[in-house]
């Protein structure tokens, strides 16, 4: 069975302290609960979590959905987005199986990246490496008004904006992530397309109006 690798990249800098990080924790819980009720995702989805603050860290290596335990998320420090992108590229290189003549490869990974601020490190190299890494879809979530949509927009053309980094918005975002993974592991396009865009995923939270 072909795996669908999913990388969740989370900003855990100091500004996420309090409600935002608590909402992320709950969001991850909801994400896992939803996906485990989906027989398609259970068969295919593998999830990894990378956090970035002072440094970037893979807090959960690529793990089969059924064994996924939401990792402990500590907040504090700056916003090392560049380091996170480089780590993400490294991990994708080593964890995602490419097809060889004999062995079936994985689906191209899905990446969901959430940040509420402006990067404090050099991110040019990271952006370069993500562009070269063969991701199926990269969605950046600008959580709240302080998030740099300009930088996120350079990582991917798929940017979802949340008006505030609060409970309703962040939870709605994670709910949307879970339905995106669900529909992707179900539909995984038979059309030969190089990449998947936002239009191929369920409508993002800002368009739902439910979280307002």
């Amino acid at each position: 069975m072909r795996r669908l690798p999913v990388y969740i990249v989370l900003d855990t800098s100091g500004s996420m302290h309090g409600e935002p990080i608590e909402a992320v924790r709950q969001g991850m819980q909801v994400l896992v609960e939803n996906l485990r009720q989906d027989p398609y995702a259970l068969e295919t989805a593998w999830i990894s979590v990378i956090t970035f603050s002072e440094e970037a860290q893979q807090v959960l290596p690529l793990t089969e959905l059924v064994n996924f335990q939401p990792p402990v998320l500590d907040v504090g420090g700056r916003t090392s987005l560049g380091a996170a992108l480089e780590l993400l590229a490294d991990r994708m290189e080593s964890e995602v199986h490419k097809a060889s003549g004999k062995k079936r490869g994985d689906w191209k990974p899905m990446v969901f990246l959430m940040s509420d601020g402006v990067p404090t490190d050099d991110f040019e190299r990271g952006i370069e490496r993500i562009k070269l890494a063969e991701a199926g879809v990269v969605v950046c979530c600008a959580a709240g008004p302080q998030a740099s949509t300009e930088v996120l927009g350079r990582i991917s053309e798929n940017v979802v904006k949340l008006d505030a980094a609060d409970f309703p918005y962040i939870k709605a975002f994670f709910k949307w992530v879970s339905s995106s993974i669900s529909s992707c592991s179900r539909r995984v396009d038979t059309q030969a397309k190089e990449t998947i865009g936002l239009s191929d995923l369920p409508p993002p939270p800002s368009e739902w109006g439910a979280s307002k």
Partner: protein, 499 residues
Amino acid sequence: MTEVVRIKALDGTLVEFENEVRASGGMKDVYFSPDRRTVVAFFRGQSDQATRERIEVITGAYREKIFGQEGGDYLKGLFRWPTAMVEWNGRLGMVIPFYDSNYFFEHGSKNGDMLGIKGKEKDGKWFASASNRARFLDSRELGDWRTHLQVCLLVSRAVRRMHAAGLAHSDLSYKNVLIDPTSGRACLIDIDGLVVPGKFPPEVVGTPDFIAPEVVATANLDRTNPARKLPSRSTDQHALAVLVYMYLFYRHPLRGDKIHDVDPMVDEELAMGSKALWVENPTDTSNRIDPTKARTAELPWKDTTRIPHTIAGPYLSALFTRAFVQGLSDPTARPTADEWETALVRTMDLLQPCRNPSCEQKWFVFDNTVEPKCPFCGTPFHGMLPVLNLYSSSVEGSFRPDDQRLMVYSGQSLFPWHANRNLVPNEKLRAEFKKRVGYFLFHEEAWYLVNEALPELFDAKTKTAIPVGGRVELVDGGQILLSKENGGRLVVVQLVHST
């Protein structure tokens, strides 16, 4: 309290629903009626005139065509067919009967429902995947091989009825076919996408795993290109063959180990499209599944040597071969839903209960070999077993084989459609013909047919009439006439001894 919305449907009936989205599909939002007997599904956004016309005929003319005839009440159990068209706040919607409670998990997953799926819909994918079955589902949800055959039979019957009415479903998949393996029931949902050749073109290409190869292979062509293939009755036939195969063998017929391209999307497109190849293709073995690479939870199902399609018996094997050898590239070779239905009815008559009380599949198709055994758990069958070969006459006094058999086991029933070839067990069968007319009994080392309602039962070997209430022993070479009416059957007994 959620606000209850009351509106009039297009046909004037009152429609009530709670103003809260309870489920969302790809194109629709679903609301529940206060009594939970119906749901109302509204399309998101504006609907075009074509959709409006389609929903109108689905809830109107087509519904009457299918349910207004003989057997219509029976068919209601096989479909969640939209009953009325509604409009609310500029959105188009339809009233659909609610699913029966048996289509929701009663026990859910293992270990006290570790996945939290109790009460959720029984998406067919749970049951069509060997690994989901073995790793996650509570064993009380799984049913057995007999109920899975019944599920396939009902799905085939529902598709056959749609096709007979000139309609194509266009998106048969696990999502749109609810199944309940514990009771052996099934029903088709999401009828609103149906295709009427020449009138309503398809809106979706289908769901991966079920899209016909010619549709996948031409998906990148423009819709107006004459080479472009879109869903139709013959693509339904491919989807139906895949469904039946998956519900019986818990593996996909085309997902083998062959790699067509290093790019996963291109590989997928080729494997499901122009290069589609059956994992059990008799001559081209390049897409076989290597069982040593499969996960433990996927075995024995991914081992096509241990569980080949031939364990489903001669009728279904022949259809699988047509569907997945010739039928992949030649849509006209695909078995029709009618053929699947007939083959499944006949296959159910070949079942034998497994002697192993802990066998997970419980039933298997008896193959007429010297050493019969359950293909699932390997338990051999010992003893004496009658096989009844059915013959019938079109000219009085001359009987020809019907290519139909009935396997006998203790408690097995004989029905009117066994006694007369002109009776077909489907939705049109009248109630009087649904009751059994005899049963089989093993008593003091001999097998008997007990006559309950066959007034003309006649032992042709000994020239003796067997009255209702009487019984006749089944001996090797025995000939028993079940009915003297036109189409009446003659049974030729074959006794299989297995030590």
